[in-house]
């Protein structure tokens, strides 16, 4: 069964099918959030939960001719946006306290990736994560970003070039 067919079943209140979609997307969603939360795996786990909760809650809003991957991406992006806002509020609340010593616990693998992606302009970083973590094709990225396929092709090409240059500079 395709993702869209499963989603239509869920839309028609066959909620058990959500388990199949979860198995297909859990790892890529998790990785997407790990990257977006700077390797905060606990927060990423909760975000994946939030995404699937919304999939079930807003199942009726899925269009029968819609692309499931694009729809799921839009939900994930919204969850991330909300998480980012609440994170900022927490940081503002904590800024009143001074910390003498702070320690950043990042593994070397992630540190390298983080540095590479941080050097990349936002539009390239976004298409790169959509392609790498979501496995989206050019057409799907274009649909999600509301751009032409040509623009997305160019962005992915440039993002890969920047990635390569940054990678070989850093190692």
């Amino acid at each position: 069964m395709t993702d869209e067919a499963l989603m239509i079943c869920i839309k028609n209140d066959d909620l058990e099918k959500a388990g199949l979609l979860y198995e297909r997307y859990k790892i890529r969603l998790f990785k997407y959030f790990v990257y977006r939360t700077f390797n905060d795996q606990e927060a990423s786990k909760d975000n994946v939960q939030q995404v699937f909760l919304r999939v079930i809650k807003y199942r009726k809003s899925f269009k029968d001719d819609g692309d499931f991957k694009v729809w799921l991406y839009s939900i994930a992006a919204n969850v991330k946006k909300k998480e980012f806002i609440s994170q900022q509020q927490r940081n503002n609340a904590l800024s009143a306290y001074t910390v003498d010593n702070s320690y950043v616990t990042e593994n070397d693998n992630y540190k390298l990736i983080h540095e590479i992606l941080q050097r990349m302009p936002v539009q390239y970083r976004e298409v790169l994560t959509m392609s790498k973590f979501w496995g989206m094709k050019y057409e799907e990225i274009a649909l999600a970003q509301q751009c032409s396929v040509g623009v997305i092709k160019t962005r992915v090409y440039r993002a890969v070039q920047i990635l390569r240059n940054a990678y070989f500079k850093l190692i």
């Binding site: 209140d13 909620l15 058990e16 959500a18 388990g19 979860y22 859990k26 790892i27 998790f30 990785k31 790990v34 990257y35 390797n39 795996q41 606990e42 786990k45 994946v48 939960q49 699937f52 909760l53 079930i56 693998n109 992630y110 390298l112 990736i113 590479i116 992606l117 790169l128 392609s131 790498k132 496995g135 094709k137 050019y138 992915v156 090409y157 890969v160 070039q161 990635l163 390569r164 940054a166 990678y167 070989f168």
Partner: protein, 280 residues
């Protein structure tokens, strides 16, 4: 293939934007072109560096959380399905309720009691001299009467004014009627007022209004019928009008008054003289 074309194809290759046929052709090309192969390997190395390792324990926890949430959602959904009414049923019940309400409203409207309600105000009329108190019922409102008589909008205010508690208003209503054509509803109202109005001035005003039209049969009948209801000056004035118009139909009623001891002495003499003139 130019370097740019190779890089484009390599990007499509590593990002999974190639069909199976294109992929095989591209891999065959790489086997023959060592330089291109090296470029693609560089890109693949950088691309694979983005891989993030996932902690299996975290993934297990994530699975556990998800299936708990899913089971919870399923049980909530099943429970809500039991109590949820089908939308069509909901609309049917609502429509039936509205229809029943409308039917009940019209049935109630058509079967409601249309009993006539008459309102009276009790007034005490104090007369000078020896204490005399006369209690009269002043006829104020008689509902449905206007509907039954089918009166026009112009007639209604005068007839309503004729039922006022103030004599001055009743007199002005009577005089105003004199300037209009006396139709059945006016005559009926004047007849009632002539018989029942407690103020002789109003009765005299009615006679003044009716006198110019006393040639008509209806007015004469009205005066004859009202004769036993009035007394004194008013009765005397009515006898005058009827004798002047030589109303033969009034003779039996006048003879009754002549033989009635309660009739004013002056009025009896007036009747006697009038009948004699009649006979001569």
């Amino acid at each position: 293939m130019t370097a740019r074309e190779i890089e484009n194809s390599a990007t499509n290759y590593i990002t999974g934007n190639m069909s199976e046929g294109e992929k095989i052709a591209f891999e065959q090309m790489l086997e023959q072109d060592e330089k291109a192969k090296q470029k693609v390997n560089e890109l693949l190395l950088a691309w694979n560096s983005l891989e993030i390792s996932t902690d299996p324990m975290i993934v297990d926890e994530m699975d556990h959380d998800f299936y708990s949430m899913l089971n919870n959602q399923i049980s909530t959904h099943e429970a809500s399905k039991i109590y949820r009414m089908h939308p069509v049923m909901y609309w049917l019940i609502s429509t039936a309720a509205v229809i029943i309400f409308i039917i009940a409203f019209f049935i109630g409207k058509n079967t409601a009691s249309s009993q006539e309600i008459i309102k009276y105000r009790v007034a005490q009329i104090m007369k000078p001299g020896p204490v005399q108190t006369k209690v009269v019922k002043v006829y104020l409102v008689r509902n449905n009467e206007n509907k039954k008589q089918n009166i026009t909008d112009q007639q209604a205010p005068l007839i309503a004014q004729l039922q006022s508690v103030y004599s001055s208003k009743r007199i002005s209503a009577v005089l105003a009627m004199g300037h209009r054509e006396l139709n059945t509803s006016y005559l009926k109202a004047l007849d009632s007022a002539l018989k029942h109005d407690p103020d002789p001035n109003v009765q005299l005003a009615i006679l003044q209004t009716l006198q110019p039209k006393a040639n008509s049969y209806e007015v004469q009948r009205l005066l004859i019928n009202a004769l036993p209801f009035v007394q004194g000056t008013v009765q005397s004035s009515m006898v005058d009008i009827l004798l002047e118009k030589k109303s033969k139909e009034a003779i039996p009623e006048m003879l009754t008054l002549l033989n009635d001891d309660n009739t004013d002495y002056h009025t009896q003499g007036q009747i006697r003289l009038g009948i004699e003139e009649f006979l001569n």
